[in-house]
Symmetry: C2
């Protein structure tokens, strides 16, 4: 259920205030946003242009295109970023003595151009306060992610019906994509940085799970073409193998991340046990995951459980291991915090993280569960509610 | 038909030589590549890491991950870019006095980090020589794009079968996506820069064509969610309207771009005439488009024809106009040259460009044809061969 427009406006104010709080910590005078995800975060709209956030007071939207924002408050149409200083002056705003730019989400040439627009201001890393703010979701954002979880589960309910005997993993994935799209999935996964390229998600059957990834995904897979080496590789799904389904939960500007495992015929006992180990890790993290807990402690706990149960050689990959067991998620698939041994982040109420303790069992396939959670005073609460057991196709 | 491995190696050498020729023009001593598209271009493989191209001699692949490249020639595994100078020294290569980085495809923070790896070298814009080289395709690259055109046409042949009465534009698009995927489409469109976000393409029915885009696409459309404002918006397709199909031609590391128009029931004569005007523009450009011709001349020709036929108010959009009629295409959807009035590029044999003279007719929809072409001595030769007339659904 969408909140009404006024609630959304109030929600956006919360996000901007949060950014301004972190700007203050960094001694930042102003912030000029141009990245797609951050424009959406600070406006819940989408345009090509810039959002100028002063240390105090309302942001100004400098819109290049499209037409159609003329009636909005605090909107100024410009042709190019070089027009911004004159417009600030016209609005009676003082020039910032320093200004932040999105070092971690804009191209080098774009940041250099923007820095030249404010030649007398000291440039700063503006990605920092925005990333920190975006870690903790507002009520409106959490509502969107709850919607995502419901739609994603609704689509996963029909995954079994997508299967026909002797199908390839790609054919299976295509039918799941169709069901997700008919459920309202946008068909596009917004990611941060250059380290992820993916279509609508990943379906990995059998030993393809053991093909290492060049990307920062938890699992690999060869893909069907060397140009996009990830996920399904076009082989026929066989009895005795698992099929891991980790498909997109992007149904609005936000998303959930959920992985479930199906099997074809009988699979070895070891695969079931590793799968149960993944569930034990999730249960332990759900209980531990309260505000104030170090993110790195979740990682260490997961490693300890995998080791205690004798599955550490298969944990987070076999030929190559991913160095994390989860990640923040929201507008982008990969947000802060990253759940690694080295994380310095501490859980806060309203953070959303996907946890994905997974195992690659050679000659069987990948097992394990991924859920997206919100951090609450009582621990991690799942947004992806769907049976976790390995199901038969 | 894929060339054999040795031919591919020779083809990659051609690409590297072309980059080195442009490096020489820019007085560039070395080039360090890290962007996904450029790693694929210079290796026809994909890994996370860096391709170091000296002004003369063979490139070195510095691979971070995945495992599996150990046996290749000139491959060095590293943990992080800071390891590169020591490895160059170990290989007996002299330190570059200046070095290029991909200013136009890497994040600001990534370029700053790489610049610090070579503190004594003058940093340069390395995007320039690569973009220039990538404009002109090699034989192997052209073969991939020919494959794309064949697959895309094969899928478009089945578009009519995707339609059912009272379908929404999104439902129609989903069935086309499925057919494209079953035909081998990778389901992912690689784009350059931050100005494009898209799923598998665009289906625009009726007046949705007149909703302006924040992105650098030729056409707009509201999309189904403000978070991804482009293309189909979920309305039911109605008699008297056109449906423009501009879906992905990404079947390997390369792609073609092709637009065709369908109609529901009868549409006004004006729409047919504007569609024929688009075809006239393409015929004129095909004839003109020989090596040595200015790209801007193609743009001017298109504008002149649209004006002469009295359709200029609808050309390249109605409420908002796109300032181009085409674009280079290859590994990325948007490559050089951009076919604008301001282009300084000149056509060369082997360049590939998509031309998309389109019209938005209010209360009818979008019309026009898009083809992907290769520049030959005889003019532009289409890679997307498919009937151009408006077809009935």
């Amino acid at each position: 259920m969408k909140l009404i427009a006024d609630d959304l406006k109030g929600d956006i104010l919360k996000r901007v205030s949060s950014i301004q709080r972190y700007m203050k910590e960094d001694g930042m005078d102003a912030l000029l946003i141009a990245g797609n995800a951050n424009i959406y975060y600070t406006t819940s709209r989408f345009f090509r242009g810039y959002v100028y956030i002063p240390a105090e007071g309302s942001p100004i939207w400098f819109v290049v295109k499209p037409v159609g924002f003329e009636e909005e408050k605090d909107v100024v149409y410009i042709h190019k970023p070089e027009n911004i200083p004159a417009e600030l002056e016209r609005l009676g705003l003082r020039m910032p003595s320093n200004i932040g730019f999105e070092y971690d989400s804009l191209l080098y040439s774009d940041v250099v151009r923007l820095q030249a627009v404010f030649p007398s201001a000291t440039p700063k890393n503006g990605s920092h306060p925005i990333k920190k703010a975006r870690m903790v979701k507002t009520p409106w954002e959490l509502d969107r992610m709850k919607e995502d979880g419901i739609h994603q589960s609704e689509a996963y309910r029909r995954v079994t019906h997508c299967y026909r005997e002797d199908m390839t993993d790609v054919e299976f994935q295509i039918e799941i994509e169709r069901i997700l799209r008919l459920e309202g999935n946008l068909g596009f996964i917004r990611t941060s940085g250059n380290l992820m390229e993916i279509n609508m998600g990943s379906v990995i059957a059998g030993d393809n799970a053991d093909v290492p990834s060049p990307y920062d995904f938890s699992m690999g897979g060869a893909g069907v073409d060397p140009a996009l080496p990830g996920g399904a590789n076009g082989t026929t799904m066989k009895p005795g193998e698992t099929v891991m389904v980790d498909m997109s939960g992007s149904f609005n500007g936000y998303q959930t991340d959920m992985t479930r495992v199906w099997r074809i015929g009988e699979i070895p006992e070891k695969a079931y046990k590793a799968h149960e180990c993944s569930r034990s890790i999730l249960r332990a993290c759900e209980k531990m995951g309260r505000p104030g807990v170090r993110v790195a402690d979740l990682y260490d706990k997961a490693i300890a459980i995998a080791k205690a149960e004798g599955f550490d050689q298969y944990f987070m990959g076999h030929r190559q291991k991913a160095p994390f067991i989860g990640h923040g998620i929201g507008i982008e698939l990969n947000e802060l915090p990253v759940v690694t041994a080295k994380s310095r982040d501490v859980l806060e109420e309203g953070m959303t993280i996907a946890l994905e303790p997974k195992f690659v069992i050679p000659s069987v396939g990948a097992v394990g569960v991924e859920n997206t959670y919100v951090v609450t005073a009582e621990g991690l609460k799942p947004l992806t509610v769907f049976p976790e057991e390995i199901q038969e196709l």
